[in-house]
Symmetry: C2
Subunit: 264 residues, 2 copies
């Protein structure tokens, strides 16, 4: 199983000013490639915090680490420096990145100031990721078993860079596929459905089933049941979730005459 961490850098998330939709978007993309995200971690714009979380991901031998935020011209854009610090790598001017930045500002007849050049400083051996929308290049870096991708926090830039560069690299890494399906159960409390979920998960290997209460446990119970599987073949993943759903339906209908089932 290919594992991933999504790291979100920025005080604006931690003061509740901004909802972390970047992480949700990335998690959808990674999951659909059969990659298992097992952390989203938001850290403030502080050197120690940022470096710590990269260090931890490396220590845990996570396959893929994708960060958003903290790449830019201001004093609190510290991601690149912190990755270098965390991995004990030299923090140096990347010539390819500098060229990317130089071209962008030249087009507008603007000079390279200290704050603009800063966006080209990266950990040694980084490969800059082209930013087709903004100015700050992203960072791609292999460290031992881990592939690190640092992207900007501006959603349009982050998404464009993921689609253009990151996704292509990831497709080569992950050999897994993901499938999911849903079912709505109306009229039965979650606490009554709980043992049936366990029964299906025991019967069908590889499926994960989670119930999401959408109504009220007592009064108007409405559950959304989510079946998912990550295995080595797409068709196999699909078969697993379908079989699990069918078995689950049977058990519910058998046990609860009052239950109403709806697909999707």
């Amino acid at each position: 199983m290919t594992t991933a961490w999504v790291i979100t850098i920025g005080n604006e998330i931690l003061i509740g000013k901004i909802v972390n939709t970047n992480a949700t978007w990335l998690c959808q993309k990674l999951t659909s490639m059969g990659i298992q995200v097992n952390r989203i971690i938001c850290v403030p714009d502080e050197e120690e915090d940022i470096a710590e979380v990269f260090k931890e991901a490396i220590k845990k031998k996570i396959d893929i680490v994708i960060s958003t935020g903290g790449l830019g011209p201001t004093f609190d854009d510290k991601t690149s420096y912190c990755i270098a610090k965390a991995l004990n790598l030299e923090y140096q001017l990347n010539q390819e990145a500098l060229k990317m930045i130089e071209e962008k500002y030249k087009e507008k007849n603007m000079e390279l100031t200290e704050h603009r050049i800063k966006m080209a400083k990266m950990p040694k051996d980084s490969e800059p990721i082209r930013n087709p929308i903004g100015t700050a290049p992203g960072i791609m870096l292999r460290y031992g078993k881990t592939m690190i991708f640092a992207l900007p926090g501006v959603p349009s830039e982050m998404k464009a860079m993921f689609e253009e560069t990151v996704s292509k690299v990831l497709r080569k890494i992950s050999g897994q596929s993901y499938a999911e399906t849903y079912l709505k159960v109306i009229g039965v409390p979650e606490s009554s459905i709980a043992p049936l979920i366990e029964e299906v998960m025991e019967a069908i290997s590889g499926v994960y089933i989670k119930s999401h209460p959408r109504g009220r446990e007592l009064g108007e119970p409405l559950l959304e049941i989510h079946f998912s599987a990550i295995v080595d073949e797409k068709s196999k993943a699909q078969r697993i979730v379908s079989e699990a759903k069918e078995l689950f339906k049977k058990l519910v209908v058998n046990e609860f005459r009052e239950a109403k089932l709806e697909n999707g």
Copy 2:
């Protein structure tokens, strides 16, 4: 400074099915009380992951840890058990919690099954938090320097329990106040504004200034500048952010004739 971690438990966040609005809501509330959130961590419904993140918060002597999710009747609702495990406390039936649950199901003429009783099992010395909307009680527990609050993931339940119980406890803990103000700068790239931000932060003690690019660095630059302060008095925090904003305005107008400024 009172510090907090927000922990979100649940695979649905990590597969990108659900945006983590619970964390954003909690961060807003905590920040407005002068509490500094320095992590949001999302973990899967796995014992080891959940226990690990609580252990880490305790090790780092975080003042307040609030988790959402994983309190309920299904097999993958493991938060309570994992807190007990992380802190090496007995995991036992809490009589007060059991009474809360018993009453709820009794009203509907429903029996206490094993999966329902499970919601009353808590780490030793926990205080159950009343759930005015759903059935699963929350958990309040002091461990050394750290106050732990475990709340359900259903937003309406989480919010009601925070307002009714958690917020009252937190108000007693935090002695700090928060203030913020905004300013829009139109027509100047972020890389040109960067040195002025540094100048203001050096001149005015206690202010934190962050620029959020909303337009395009090259072409149509639009920046939202956020000034914030957490100090011991509300009026002092407000004075700091106002002074910083005024000084910043002066510097921008002086340096960039083309700049347009807008409040809010």
